[in-house]
């Protein structure tokens, strides 16, 4: 079976199991909502504060929510040793990663899009005029988080102290993604919006490099 067909079948499985249990989506939505609401009421940011600090806060919330979401990604494949069944069934193990990282990106994007209006209202930031560009940076940032996070989730799932290991590895690795995504978002939410192309370029490069690494080394990450 081709890589594309295997990925499609596995992506269907990922979406079906998630929408049946809603474990990951519920966790991430609740976490991001809590952070946004809490900071909004605690600091009561002014219009200019919102534009300066809002994007950083938003991406920090996305990143921590992602680390919560990525933890069970491979861990739940261990409950019934289903990862072994997948490894025995697919012709290219990269399909397992590809399906999981696409699913994680979709879940993250879904959460981000759901939380964007809440952020816009509570922080009084107009987002409609730059919605397209915002969605682009959300996509590139979420893809970067998902690629690195899915790979590290596979590593940490086989380790001892796995709950600690993933955030320990993930957060430093994703700091450049966080910085670039925040910078691009700050530019987009500015009073005179502009696109920080250097940041967009960095996010694209990060995604391409880490996806290639995952393609080359993914098979070894799944070995017992």
């Amino acid at each position: 079976m081709s890589l594309l067909s295997s990925t499609t079948v596995l992506l269907g499985k990922e979406l079906r199991t998630e929408f049946r249990s809603r474990e990951l989506l519920t966790t991430t939505v609740v976490f991001i909502l809590m952070v946004i609401v809490l900071f909004s009421f605690t600091f009561d940011p002014t219009y200019s504060d919102s534009r300066r600090f809002g994007p950083g806060l938003l991406w920090l919330a996305f990143l921590f929510a992602a680390s919560l979401m990525l933890q069970p990604c491979f861990l739940r494949e261990q409950n019934n040793d289903t990862l072994s069944a997948l490894r025995l069934s697919v012709s290219d193990p990269f399909a397992i990663f590809l399906a999981k990282l696409i699913a994680n990106t979709l879940f993250l994007l879904f959460t981000e899009v759901l939380m964007l209006p809440v952020f816009a209202v509570l922080y009084n930031v107009p987002v409609l005029r730059v919605l397209g560009q915002l969605l682009l940076v959300f996509f590139l940032g979420s893809l970067g988080v998902s690629i690195a996070g899915t790979a590290l989730s596979a590593i940490s799932a086989q380790a001892r102290m796995r709950e600690l290991l993933l955030p320990l590895l993930l957060l430093p690795l994703l700091t450049p993604v966080l910085v670039s995504s925040t910078q691009v978002t700050i530019g987009l939410l500015d009073a005179s919006p502009y696109v920080e192309w250097k940041g967009i370029g960095f996010l694209v490069a990060f995604d391409v490099v880490f996806l290639t690494l995952l393609w080359l080394l993914g098979e070894y990450l799944l070995e017992e």
């Binding site: 079976m1 067909s5 295997s6 079948v9 596995l10 499985k13 079906r16 199991t17 049946r20 249990s21 409950n79 019934n80 040793d81 289903t82 072994s84 069944a85 997948l86 490894r87 025995l88 069934s89 697919v90 012709s91 070995e223 017992e224």
Partner: protein, 246 residues
């Protein structure tokens, strides 16, 4: 059980070793299973049975040694080291594996589970094959129920059906009767007998004597990763299986 269109395949273990840090799980294991042979692996917990089966399935890479799959014609296709991709792919294509864990998703129904793996394996007429197997394992009426609502025995039936989806020429079974009731054990014994009689090579780890162990034409006993007994004699096979845990 099915009309089988595979070429019988054996398994050759050449000085297989597996170490986990300082612990040797398998030590220079060397034996060959002829195509169509039914071999029972016996031994205490931790003797290396599961590791050996997982190496044969291509899930675990041995620390050293070679694993090949001789066909009934005597040729050894792709006689590469086990780490080589050709052999790993060959193992995956020819083997069906039932592990101690069920290897199925609790959040999917029995039918969804089997369809998922059938599609990933590129099974021809996947839906038809899945329905046939569900009927044979006695779960056709519960095909739309989530696996998490099943008893251990029913999950084991799904696990066995999953292993049989692609009509494997080699069956690797790690304590396959786990959780099965006497009817389930009887059904499994009948199924394995039919598979054995059609030329399927079977390697299974067992504890004690049962209807399933009666199928074995050979028994190998492992102790601390070493083969300490290997016999084809009917009486000795029974003896090895009965006293394996002694």
């Amino acid at each position: 059980m099915t009309s089988r269109g595979f070429s019988p395949t054996g398994i050759r273990f050449e000085n297989i070793e597996k170490r986990y840090g300082g612990l040797a799980a398998l030590r220079r294991v060397r034996f060959e299973i002829a195509p169509g042979e039914c071999v029972a692996l016996a031994g205490r917990n931790g003797s290396g049975k599961t590791t050996l089966l997982r190496i044969a399935a291509g899930l675990v890479r041995p620390s050293s040694g070679e694993l090949t799959f001789p066909s009934a014609t005597g040729a050894v296709p792709g006689a590469a080291s086990h780490g080589a991709k050709t052999e790993a792919v060959r193992a995956k294509n020819s083997a069906g594996f039932v592990a101690h864990a069920t290897m199925v998703y609790d959040e999917l129904t029995a039918e969804e589970n089997l369809l998922l793996f059938a599609r990933l394996q590129g099974t021809h007429n996947a839906a038809e094959r899945v329905n046939k197997l569900l009927y044979e394992v006695g779960l056709y009426d519960r095909r739309s129920s989530l696996v998490r609502t099943f008893s251990r025995g029913m999950r084991q039936r799904v696990a066995i059906a999953r292993a049989l989806l692609h009509e494997p020429s080699i069956l690797l079974l790690d304590e396959p009767s786990t959780g099965l009731d006497p009817q389930g054990v009887g059904w499994l014994a009948t199924t394995l007998r039919e598979l054995r009689d059609t030329g399927c090579t079977i390697l299974m780890s067992l504890h004690g004597e049962s209807e399933i162990s009666m199928l074995a034409t050979r028994a190998i006993r492992l102790d601390a990763g070493l083969i300490v007994a290997d016999t084809h004699s009917g009486a000795e096979v029974r003896s090895i299986l009965t006293f394996a845990d002694a």
